[in-house]
Symmetry: C2
Subunit: 344 residues, 2 copies
Amino acid sequence: MSKTSRGGAAPSAGRATIHDVARIAAVSTATVSRVMSGGKPVSTEVTDRVRAAAREVGYRPNPAAQTLLRGRSQTIGVVAPDLGNPYFAEILKGVAAEAAEVGHHTLVAGTDEDPEREYRSALELARWVDGLLLCAPRMSTPRLKEVAAASRSLVLINRVLRHPSIGAVVVDYSEGVKVLCEHLAGFGHERIVYLEGPPNAWSDRQRQRGFRTAEALGQTVIPIPCGSAMQDGYATADEALKHQPTAVIAFNDHVALGVFTRLRELGIDVPGELSLIGIDDAPMSAHTDPGLTTFAVSTVDLGRLAWQKFTSDPGAGVVHLSGSLVVRGSTGPAPRKRRRATKR
Amino acid sequence: MSKTSRGGAAPSAGRATIHDVARIAAVSTATVSRVMSGGKPVSTEVTDRVRAAAREVGYRPNPAAQTLLRGRSQTIGVVAPDLGNPYFAEILKGVAAEAAEVGHHTLVAGTDEDPEREYRSALELARWVDGLLLCAPRMSTPRLKEVAAASRSLVLINRVLRHPSIGAVVVDYSEGVKVLCEHLAGFGHERIVYLEGPPNAWSDRQRQRGFRTAEALGQTVIPIPCGSAMQDGYATADEALKHQPTAVIAFNDHVALGVFTRLRELGIDVPGELSLIGIDDAPMSAHTDPGLTTFAVSTVDLGRLAWQKFTSDPGAGVVHLSGSLVVRGSTGPAPRKRRRATKR
DNA sequence: TTGAAAGCGCTAACAG
DNA sequence: CTGTTAGCGCTTTCAA
């Protein structure tokens, strides 16, 4: 009769080793290993004995030992500029969900938009993980290549790099901006302020590329430095107005929402006096009044795609994720006369 | 003369072992180890040789081997119901930042609000990590104790449990609700609908506890099942109105924002006809029109406190984080006559 | 100050 | 089908 404690009470701790189990079941550690990993030829009688012993002591294989032996940790690393930003949070959610589905773990690191920390975190995580996912990396290209060399597998989100071992999943923001500009053109907008994202964001450059189309459409685009957070939009709104645009396109929805608030404070009617557009379609954007016109992107899909890139097609190659125009109430016909500049 | 490649070009890969370094530097692996870990007595000449060799091959110690030997992985695990929810995303951000500060890593797992997945994820992560942080865990108390037994160290966020080895960091939501109700009482509100959070949320029960005070204040509180997301609030708004409240308190700001949208659709004036209150002070809440009155909580601090609980004071004990009332435009005097119920 | 050797917990040959 | 052995990469005695 086994000594198994009744009622499945919690076994001491995760401290039991394979030796303990082997001793109790009166078999070799090899046999225990065979039973635990499954699919190996072991008699049912022994299997039962081992399982009972394992349950008794609450045995769980030590992952460090497994990793050491196998050379793979079943872990993926995710590095993002800001873990608190819903955009990256949802990417992480998507990746972690897919990874967990097949028994992989997810290690994370936030960099606070600091390229130096980003570089160091990436190198650090690379020691541990089987694959590294860098979200919107801000570091230099040479360093990115260094990270690639130090990683078993590297995938980028929203940045591309011609390199044999660096894959990427990117949103086609260039196309997005083009669609947005066309939408505005349909409303007769000819003078647009673009609120730029963080300095080293590749995806910002893609957006800027999209504006070339706008200029071909006869629109004037005035880019001004801003950022990626709500408060950046709020703080830059006055500056944007000085250029007397009839429409503002923000780096993303958060920024647009910040602008929105400032416009309301100034008593400027949206879209009557000014049309406002975001990018990414944050959850909130459907809940403002008026709703925010935006270029919608499925962030969770971004994460899922990134995971698939790892498993299905490691190495070079770029997966494109397209978005779609979502027209809500924040855009409308350009006003007849341009707004006067507000006093600062 | 060393063979070091010029210009710091990326060394082959993270494949170099301590043996490679030892061979190149013509020393034993023990010496390499001593140099790498530092603080050990090694001649400067040998130190230099080892460092050069390590740099040359891009040597980085294998963390699995270190973990196996040391019995600690320098890693913390974070489990949350929804990684995409800004509330948990910010907690994660806080924890990860603190952990990284001292060279620790952060492993994450989302559970999609599923207590079963939560339990399994926790047990799984426990094998790896030095400490486990469970955010708003939904699993049963016995299972929580099981997880505690399997973990080296366990800290809960927004749930308490009398157990010698389970610590907790909690927001005082009971007090928060009390403050909110007093605020409403000042405006003459006597009939309040409370939109409940997820079924197994301990923090929801704390809120409900807070409402007892309200009832002592002569207010009637009608709790109705809702959820934690914006769409939950949107979907439950009509139901809430049926009870003809003069004020609605939502489980959190997201829910309140969802309600807000529905109220706007229905043409109900906030706060003229109905006062609306959230909890947690999400970033958006300052950017709606009118702004959302709420009970503000610093989520990043929650994460930081959780980390400190691990390092400074493992084991039992509850750290309380208090919040504060933030009055914005969504609350005002109760209307003279109650709203008629809207047709469904 | 340095090296040799043992062993962390586990799995994969290789025998039997 | 099962046990023995070797060794993953590293750190840490113990000697020299």
